[in-house]
Each structure stands twice: as C-alpha cells, then as structure tokens.
Amino acid sequence: MAALTETIALAREDRVPRTTPSRGADALFRAAAYGCAILVLLVLVGILASIAYGGWPAFREFGFGFLTSPAWNVGTEQYGALVAVIGTLASALIALLIGVPLSLGIAVYLTQLCPGWARRPVAMTIELLAAVPSIIYGMWGLFIFAPLFARFVQVPVSNLVEGLPVVGTLLYARVPSGVGILTAGIILAIMIVPFVASIARDMLDQIPTILRESAYGIGCTTWEVVRHVLVPQASVSIIGAIMLGLGRALGETMAVTFVIGNANRLSASIFDPGSTIASRIANEFNEADGMQLNALMALGCILFVITFVVLIIARLLTRRVKVA
C-alpha cells in the first residue's frame, strides 16, 4: 500500500514539474511575447516602406501627374495611375451597391426570419462562401458567370439602350464578352457578402431581445422592426462592416484579374473591360523592370493608402463592438 502511494506520488511529480523556471527564463518568455508583438508592427511598417521605396522613382519622375494621367505605355515609358485607380474605385463601388443589400438581407433573414432548425446550415453555407479561394471565384466568374451574363444581360441591355443618351454609353457593350468592370463588381459583391453579412448578423444578434419584442408587442411588422428598431441600433457598426467589405473589394486581386478584361482604356461603359490596381500588378509585375516596375510599385503605394484609410475607418467604427 505504501509502495502504491509512493508510485502515485512519484508519477504526479513526473507530470507536473516542481521546479519553476528561473527568473531569466521567465523574462525571456516575456521578451519573446513582446518581440512578436513588435514584429507584427514592423511588418506593417515594412510593407509601407518597401512599396514606397519601390514606387519612389515613379513618383519623382511623373510627380503629381502620375495620379491624373491615363497613359500606360511600356514603349515610351509613360505611366499614369488614372485608369487603374478609376477601375479600382468603380468596381469596388459596384460591389458595395450590390453586395451590401444582399448582405443585410442575409443578416436579417438569419437573425429574424429563419426557422430555428435551418439557422445553422444556412449560416454555414454563407460562411463557407468566405472560405472559397479567390482564384476559384475568378474561374467561376470567367467560365460560368461571364457567358451567362453576356448572353442574358449584356446583349439584351446593349440592344435596348443603343443610341439613347447617357444610358446608351453607360450600358453599351461594344464587344459583349461578359467580362468587364460590372462583372468584376458583381463577383466582388459576392466575395464581400460573407464578411459583411457575418458582422451585420453579430450586430443584430447583440441588440437586446426586449427591444425587438416590445416593438412586435405594439403591433409592428417585421419590416417596421427592422427599419425603425434594428437598423438605428446597429447603424454605426453596419457602416463599419460595409467599410470592411470595401477594403476587401479594393484589394482583391485574382478574381478581378480573371474577369475585368485587363484593358488600359478609359471607358464610359461599365460593360467594357478595364483594370484595377491589383489586377494590373498581378498581370505585369513578373515581366516588368526599370520604370515599369517602379510605376507598378507606385500603384501598390496608392492602393495601400486607399485601403488602409478605408480599413482604419472600418476598424474604428466596429471596434466598440468587436472586442470580445
């Protein structure tokens, strides 16, 4: 019996080391944690520094005109960011116009309308949309969506609006191939849906049930509850969620590269091919050298500034709620 107690005691001793780490090891651990946190900071600074360093010759060469020039000519070494910047902003804006209503609809459906048994599978489906790699969205957009879009939207709409003022240029496809800025915007919309919907759903879930129930109690319909109770309560964080979606849409690369058509042309029609900053970098970077490389880096620098401003605003708006 005594022997047994002894073995148990010894076994215990094996599992839990009685010796505590020395003061030095403790300080080392602390320093390592500190260092890793600093490393995260340094990476962000490093990203900005490296891109600014790479893009500097282009900024110096073209000055402020880099932002306003539509030129992109490898032969004459004339580079400007205008087409790519407009393409980036236009496709992201289209993504928001389509993606935000979709996301909010999904969030409202999941929190207010969905029957209990279906909530988990439906939520899982929407969340899995976020896990699909962006290159797969690109393939889907180019091989499945674009042909359908060309046949059922671009051709009929182009025929309908041909010759009309304003819409005749805005919605006219010279070559109805299905790819273009609008297609890129639609694919981006689908890609930001899971992110925006997930945050919006968390916000709606956090609104005290009693508010909702009292609104229903005085006879409000679901629409009135959503419009007058839920939206005002969650508006700030929903705007934050939208900005977060915008940040993603601005920097998305592979999916856009597949479906935007990669043309350096300013066009008034959203059916026409264009390019974004990210798609141009992805397309040209490997073959570029000299001033073209610097110009691409400078484009990256502009993208950095735009997305980081958007993301900072987004985080400031959602921070209050997201900290667990």
């Binding site: 490093g46 939520a123 797969i136 319909t221």
Partner: protein, 295 residues
Amino acid sequence: MDATTPMAAMHAAPVSRVRSSRRVADRVLRVSCFAATLIGAVVLGSILLMLIIEGLRGITPTLLTQPTPGPGSEGGGIANAVLGSLVLTFIGIVVATPVGVMAGTFLAEYGRGSKLAELVRFLNDILLSAPSILIGLFVYTLMVRPMGTYSGWAGGVALAIIATPVIVRTTEDMLRLVPGSMREAGAALGAPASTVIRQVTWRAASAGIVTGIILALARIAGETAPLLFTALNNNSWFSPNLMGGIANLPVMIYQFALSPYPNWQQLAWAGALLITATILALSVVARFVLSPKRH
C-alpha cells in the same frame, strides 16, 4: 390595434390602405431577405457543382504521380504543384504559429491595457484584411530582389505574413475567455507569469488556439496573389532546394486555366477541385466541429 398604431396615426390615411401597405412592405422585406440568402446559397452551390463536374473530368491516373507537363505536351499531372503547395503552406504555418501565438499572448496577458497593445491590436486587425498582393510586393522587395531569384522561402514567408494576424486575433480572443481566477490560482501557488501562461491559460484555451491555426491554414492554402512574385511556378519536379521558382497549386491553376492547351486546363480544374475541397474541409472542421459553441 388598427388605427392606434403609431404608423397608422402618422400617415393619417384610410385604415384599410395603410394596413395593406404595411403588409406589402413586410412581404417585400421577407421575400427579398429570403431571396438574398437564396442567391448566396445558389452561388456556393454553382461553384461547387462547377468544380465537381469539371474537376472530376480532369482526374487521371497520373494526376498525383507526374509533374506538370510542358507547353503542348500530353498527359502529366500536378504532383509537383501539390507537393510544393504543401511545403509552402507548411513553412507559412510553422513560421506564423509561434509568432502569432506569442503576439496574441502579449495582447491578452502582458500587454493588457497598455498603449502598445492597443496599437498592435489595431494594426493587426488592419493587417488581417490587407490586400494580399501588397504583401507579395513587400516580400518581393525584402527577399526576392536581394537574393536575385524567386524562391520557396519567399513564398513561405509571404504566406506566414498572411497567416500571422489570423492566429494573433484568435489566440487573443481565446485567451481572453479564460477566467482571471484561473490565472490568480496559478499565481497564488507561486508560479511565475510564464508558467501560468504556459500551463494554465494556454491549456485552457488550446482548442480555440488550434482552431485559429486551422483557419489560418485554410486562409493561406488558396492564396495566389502573394505567390505570383515570390514562389512563382515551374514545371519541373519538386526539389528540396527551395531556391528558384517552386511549383504550387494556386499559381499553377492561374496559369493553366488561362492557357490555350486543353490538357493544361483540365489539370487546372482538377487542382481547383482538390484545393477547394481541402480548404472547405479545413474550414468546416475549424468553424463547426472544433468550436461548436459559436452560433
């Protein structure tokens, strides 16, 4: 109820019309919310269907035994790309895990309430959604240009930079869920801070931290943009020497899907099916099996 509801009183319109307009608004909301959800589900379904139909057609006996074929040559597989992707993802996770867990530990334990922790947390959240192509440019400037060659190491580092913020965030969130009384109990036994963290808080939060690592894995496994300028691609057999371009699935899919050769396109589809199935499986495990508490 009819005339006394605030809405009806506000509009001061005939009772019956107000009621029907309210009903219509409500119906429209219900139907459009359902439609939005349906669109999401249909898109996911159509993506999966596309991958299964096209991907299964691309599966050949040599798919996982032969390297990618040269332009215009027949047959071949994607064995080198699969292996390369595994290696790159492995490097990414092996680098990101210690850094991410330690930084998350700093945020949740040592840095609580400090200005530095506040700043790191904020910038980490921004890094979490930073465009991955910019990370590619960064690693290109940092490693590819000085070394003079594309390399697997550079690709791995780029992936690590993308994975780290995910791990930092989940580690911090999970450590914060550990009740303070457990730390106090550890400290009361005379354990130094590092012992309490390693033997009490990390253990209590281990399932959540592992979930974060798997999510990070799922995130980097399909990343393409940062690999374009770092690991690039090649058609030769995988070699343990990671200098020079290294074949990997995402870049292979990108190049082959847009190529004019039918057998390349088929290989791209097979690769796309393989990579998506892997990532979706990882996400399902991480989100719905390991952490069922959420939702």
